[in-house]
Amino acid sequence: MKDTAFFLGKGGVGKTTLSSAFALELARSGKKVLIASLDPAHNLGDTLYTKLNGQPRRVEPNLDALEVDLGEWVERYLEDSRRQLKENYSYNLALNLDSFFSILKYSPGTEEYAVLWAIEDVHCRLAPDYDYVVFDTPPTALSLRFLSLPFISGMWVAELTKLRERILERRQTITRLNPESPVAASCVDKDDDKVYGKLSNIRARLSALATLFSKQSFMSVIVNPDDLSVYEALRIRDELDRLGLPLEAVCVNKQGVSDAAWHLAPELASLSRFDFDFTREGIHSRDDLARIGMKPLVQLFLKEGKKR
């Protein structure tokens, strides 16, 4: 069943506006909805006219919202690793641990992992209290990286697990042949080996996220009536195709904002298309958001959700 929606697209196309309107329409139709912003530059609270933080906050009777604090997730994850490192090393190998971890904060991939673990937290801890979860995503580059992580990291973890199994088999054989060997003092069973346990744990978490993205999520791409946002939507579609993630709808936002010629690429034209007019008067309240005509997209989402 598809109970999670992601809105992707180039920066500035209206992801936050459309995902808020989508969540609002779902909530006003009687479903219990949580909308979470994954964008490091949050503006979900501004769109919903409610001050938000990292915990779900009531916006309307059936609608809660939160803005994921990525900095806090990075800190939490590094603090956890730092604590385990200090606990497990019998000699003080890591004298400059704190400076090492403060550098890791800026290591490539850390922010994407923080997004991933934040999604996991929303999915496992918060989502059971709601009928549907809607994610407002960051601009394309970061979104595609976190969507691909469960698949790419999953391959790494699978290979490392195989190598670890070989190591444990060798240790078992040596211990059987020569119980006096120093190897006998190390872990020989999968159940006792903490590295194997950790690899299995990471693998299970990544696999659950891969399932969430590929089987439980409804992916929409948002474009504006201009070529740049369409080109980026094509790149999103290609990348999602490569990862085996189905893209199900294209939302053309701000229709009528300009008279310049443009066309929707044929690759996107095959998707279900939803048009949203540019509102010259602007959006000044949640009721204005609710009027932008989200019903057909919500109906498709509910229909797709029931399929599996």
Partner: protein, 93 residues
């Protein structure tokens, strides 16, 4: 006296058995250390420019890799003279 002799003979036999066991598993232990070294290199290779899993995965595994890190450091010393290491393992004087 015969009891003491029996004890000495038993100890000699046990030592001989242990020496043979050590010889039998020596090459396997070397191979195991190589595997553990490769495992550590794969996890930490990013720091030396080798392809490696994303840093956050390496950091999650790091707290449990004390043995592998010790082997990795020992191997770094041995890598200066790999031929001598090989000859030593094959017991060539």
């Amino acid at each position: 006296m015969p009891r003491k002799l029996k004890h000495i003979l038993k100890q000699a036999l046990l030592t001989a058995v242990q020496v043979n066991r050590d010889k039998a598993t020596g090459i396997m232990e070397f191979e195991l250390k190589e595997l553990e070294n490769i495992f550590a290199l794969l996890i930490l290779g990013g720091f030396a420019g080798l392809p490696s899993p994303p840093a956050p995965i390496a950091v999650e595994l790091l707290p449990y890799m004390e043995r592998e890190l010790t082997i990795l450091l020992a191997r770094t010393d041995l890598s200066q003279d790999p031929l001598a290491t090989l000859m030593d393992m094959l017991q060539v004087d």
